[in-house]
């Protein structure tokens, strides 16, 4: 998936991935996609829960991957609606 911006949240423990994602997406132009790369497995359910608390963001997709250091990553694609 294409993203206009990427936030590297690897190695961060909760609540930091969402604290930073919130800041980042509020600074993103409406319609743009923000890609957040996290290593915390808890981020999968937490991003789903967080997005539901707001009417202004969408969670487009979540996927798992591996980074160059072999760490398991959890990638979240967000879009600001307006």
């Amino acid at each position: 998936m294409e993203a206009q911006k990427t936030l590297d949240a690897r190695g961060l423990k909760c609540p930091m991935p969402i604290v930073k994602a919130k800041k980042e997406i509020d600074a993103t132009p409406p319609g743009d996609v923000l890609k957040v790369i996290a290593t915390d497995p808890g981020s999968v359910l937490d991003f789903q829960g967080w997005i539901k608390t707001s009417t202004n963001y969408e969670l487009l997709q979540q996927e798992e991957g591996k980074d160059e250091q072999g760490r398991k990553t959890f990638i979240h694609y967000l879009r600001r609606k307006s």
Binding site: C14, P15, V19, K22, G42, G49, W50, T53
Partner: protein, 378 residues
């Protein structure tokens, strides 16, 4: 300000327990939460709701507290998001403490409590309250044996050294499925025997000393303490009870204060159920009513005695334990109806307990949640 799981657990015994604000997502909250002898009043507002709308979330907390003078303990999975929320609450003038280490630590910590015994025998029950797991340290003189140790082996080491004890051996009453055993690690580190019934432990990747029905616990030729081994199949085929000093029966997952161990975890509810029925009625027949039953699980805070230990007279269990009161047919019906609800990670925990390697992160994940080893109507 923070509070440890042990402090919180003790406070849940007191007349004015704190309010619990759980800031995990609702899925994790539904799966496992803080419980105590008194059920605390608990509210779930995920931490991300505080990030998204701090004012509205704080207002919810304020209306929940509703002017009461009780403090709030904030809880999350590992203790970081709860610290973040506790700081927000403090900034809004709400007295709050963070549960350090979160639910992971809540599920890990133990409290050692003495079981009253005649000298020179001493027994302590280690209550891992968050998971409802019980383990034991039995001592005579300086010599100690640990039964069903959890993987926080430093807790046992520290306790033994504070009491001036030398741990001579470790025993598992059966191959555990709900938690990772600390026995192989202690045995390897201290170069002491790990005793277990071969029916459960054959094929293990580590050395163990097989003990059969009727055996005594010996190191070489020396009998450490008067412990008789009683094979008690049912929960697992190799389940074993230990009769200590003819006065204390460590029952593992065979018999609990208000139930019995599930015979369905191996996928043979009827067959193992028949074994369990025979065990609790025929095999334990020779054990006297005055013997104290010391189980490996607590099924709930109500099982605690006033001194905080989880134990009961065998005679009282024969009279009152609902599963012991059933005839064989109803017992087997109950065993069958309990079947099929085992947590998915139990198969993997059994393999780890036979020596399969696992990473530190995996061990934490595997052990999340309360034990589900008791047979009960669900």
């Amino acid at each position: 300000m923070m509070t440890t799981p042990r402090e919180l657990f003790e406070r849940l015994h007191a007349p004015d327990p704190p309010l619990i604000l759980d800031v995990r997502n609702k899925e994790e909250f539904a799966r496992w939460k803080i419980e105590g002898p008194q059920m605390p009043e608990t509210l779930n507002i995920p931490y991300f709701a505080f990030i998204e709308d701090e004012e509205a979330s704080v207002a919810k907390v304020k209306s929940w507290i509703a002017g009461r003078s009780r403090d709030v303990v904030v809880v999350c999975a590992k203790g970081d998001s709860s610290e973040f929320v506790a700081e927000i609450l403090k900034a809004h003038g709400i007295a709050s403490r963070n549960l350090s280490g979160g639910m992971v630590q809540w599920g890990r910590d133990e409290i050692f409590r003495p079981i009253p015994t005649p000298s020179p025998l001493r027994i302590w029950q280690a209550n891992r309250f968050g998971k409802g797991c019980l383990s034991y340290m039995i001592a005579r003189g300086q010599d100690a044996v640990i039964v069903d140790p959890h993987r926080q082996i430093d807790d046992y080491r520290d306790f033994a050294s504070r009491q001036g004890l030398v741990v001579r051996g470790v025993f598992d009453t059966h191959l555990h499925a709900d938690h990772v055993s600390g026995a192989p690690t202690i045995a390897r580190a201290e170069k002491i025997p790990y005793w277990g019934n071969p029916t459960d432990f054959t094929g293990a990747a580590f050395d163990f000393v097989p003990v059969q029905d009727g055996a005594r616990l010996r190191i070489g030729e020396i009998e450490l303490m008067p412990v008789e081994v009683l094979h008690s199949p049912g929960h697992t085929p190799g389940s074993t009870c230990l009769l200590v000093n003819r006065g204390y029966l460590l029952t593992g997952d065979t018999l609990f204060v208000s139930g019995v161990g599930r015979p369905d975890l191996g996928g043979h509810a009827l067959e193992w159920g028949r074994d369990l029925y025979k065990t609790i009625h025929d095999r334990l027949r020779g054990v006297g009513d005055d013997v104290q039953v010391l189980p490996a699980h607590s099924s709930g805070p109500l099982e605690q005695r006033p001194d905080g230990t989880v134990a009961a007279r065998l005679g009282d269990l024969r009279a009152k334990n609902p599963s012991m009161r059933l005839d064989e047919e109803s017992f087997l019906r109950e065993a069958e109806s309990a079947a099929g609800h085992a947590p998915v990670q139990y198969a993997r925990i059994r393999r780890v307990n036979l020596g399969d390697p696992a990473s530190a992160d995996e061990l934490i994940e595997l052990e999340l949640g309360k034990n589900e080893c008791a047979m009960s109507r669900r």
